[in-house]
């Protein structure tokens, strides 16, 4: 297993080819695939303003769905698109389940905004990170999905439209509003 990870120097092997190999029974291919995308998926859940334990649980569920669907996997899009489509559905399922049981899953407690009076004052890493989290949590669900998929995961508007199963223009609109909100909230951190 470790040798496979160490040997993942050949980036020319696409994610799709690896997934097809895994579908045929090559576990080493899955190991490579997992190590390529595990951080992105984990970060996607962490930025949802949920606890670490819940984020890991959702992460685990996402990968299990990939594992279980290996035999029916077909290359219709990029593997990353396929992976984040599953991740988003897992998140929606989780939020719906929690809302029906009236449980609070998002961290509602937003930390107080940091006052930055003097622009010359150096903003610490922790402060900036916290501010970003706070601003993301203020976005609507759809705006949040679009923002995280575009800014954190690096998807294009077209790819996000496919993942979220929405019209491209709607995604673009959500992206625009999300950016405006974020900029307003983080204007104090501009250099």
């Amino acid at each position: 297993m470790t040798s496979f990870i160490a040997n993942d120097v050949d980036q020319s092997i696409t994610d799709e080819a690896l997934m097809l190999s895994y579908a045929k029974g090559d576990t080493g291919a899955f190991d490579v695939l997992y190590h390529r995308h595990k951080v992105a998926v984990h970060r996607f859940f962490l930025r949802q303003h949920i606890s670490l334990a819940v984020a890991e649980e959702l992460c685990h569920d996402t990968w299990l769905k990939v594992i279980n669907a290996r035999k029916t996997y077909e290359v219709s899009a990029l593997f990353r698109t396929y992976l984040f489509t599953i991740a988003r559905r897992v998140l929606i399922d989780f939020s719906q389940k929690k809302s029906t049981t009236n449980e609070q899953y998002f961290n509602e407690v937003v930390e107080p905004e940091i006052e930055v009076d003097d622009k010359s004052q150096t903003v610490s890493n922790h402060q900036l990170k916290q501010a970003l989290k706070n601003e993301i949590s203020k976005l609507t669900f759809e705006q949040k999905q679009v923002f995280l998929l575009k800014q954190d995961a690096g998807f294009t508007i077209e790819q996000i439209a496919k993942i979220t199963e929405q019209h491209k223009e709607k995604v673009k609109s959500n992206w625009r509003y999300a950016l405006q909100k974020m900029r307003e909230g983080l204007s104090a951190y501009a250099n």
């Binding site: 951080v39 594992i67 974020m182 501009a190």
Partner: protein, 288 residues
């Protein structure tokens, strides 16, 4: 209908929006870049426990088994099979070539004597020209090993049939077809003659000589009885299936006996020379 000003105004708004969007993107990106430059990505890594859990599930789903087990099995199975085959073949040939009689004979005599006896018998059995002496030599040989059991004799015959010496074979090939035929017949008669005593008596009964006339067939029992009386014998006549001999007993009473040709062999010179001979000599002709 839109005026040109409206058109330009709409396009201007669009441009403004795009510019605003680009500015916003650049602003957020600069913040993310600052964050990425400072923070370590370790914080956003999933735990090792979760890694192991997911990878284990992936391997379980495929039914992963270590290849080491198969490779181990792959090398020793053919080697074990080959070793077994070699062992069986070597044992088979060992049994085939091993002189079985060697051990049997060694009970009654020394190995060197037994070897000589075997060699002598081989030579005698396949030499047609010396057929007369063959019978005598065989008898001598058997006399030299009196302790040899009947079973041992039978086994010796079997062994002869299995392991003929190349020298004897060469001798056979030099002989003519007629000689070969005779040799075969002699072999057959020798084999049948070298049966146990019980079998010999049985053979005599089957040919019906016993009920032929008053002349009785020489049996083993009768022979032993006459031997104790120190009787002598002489050749009288030769019939199709037996020889007729006359035995002079101690009380000077002459008695005729039939000798089964399958068990006895009296050569021409002995037939012509009708002198009285000892029963020991007759005994030598018994089991040729």
């Amino acid at each position: 209908m839109p005026t040109n000003n409206n058109k330009y105004g709409h396009q201007g708004d669009q441009q403004m929006q795009d510019k605003q969007l680009n500015d916003d993107e650049a602003f957020i990106q600069s913040l993310y870049d600052d964050l990425a430059a400072q923070e370590s990505s370790k914080e956003e890594q999933p735990s090792k426990a979760m890694d192991e859990k997911i990878l284990a599930a992936a391997h379980r789903s495929v039914g992963y088994t270590p290849k080491l087990v198969n490779t181990k099995r792959a090398w020793y199975v053919p080697i074990a099979s080959a070793a077994s085959v070699i062992l069986v073949v070597s044992l088979f040939f060992n049994q085939l070539n091993d002189p079985v009689m060697q051990s049997e004979i060694s009970f009654s005599g020394s190995p060197s004597t037994a070897g000589k006896q075997e060699e002598l018998m081989n030579d005698q059995l396949y030499d047609v020209r010396a057929s007369d002496s063959t019978v005598q030599a065989s008898a001598e040989m058997l006399q030299a090993a009196p302790a040899m059991s009947v079973q041992s004799k039978e086994m010796l015959i079997k062994h002869k049939g299995m392991s003929r010496k190349p020298q004897s074979m060469k001798r056979i090939s030099l002989q003519g077809k007629e000689e070969k035929k005779q040799l075969k017949q002699l072999q057959v008669s020798n084999y049948s003659a070298l049966k146990s005593d019980e079998q010999l008596v049985e053979t005599r009964k089957t040919i019906g000589v016993e009920s032929d006339s008053n002349v009785s067939v020489m049996t083993e029992k009768e022979f032993n009885r006459l031997l104790t009386l120190d009787s002598r014998w002489s050749f009288v006549d030769e019939e199709k299936e037996f020889y007729l001999i006359q035995v002079v007993e101690q009380d000077s009473e002459n008695v005729l006996y039939k000798l089964d040709k399958k068990a006895y062999y009296i050569n021409r010179s002995m037939q012509k020379n009708k002198t009285k001979r000892s029963l020991e000599e007759l005994g030598k002709l018994t089991e040729n």
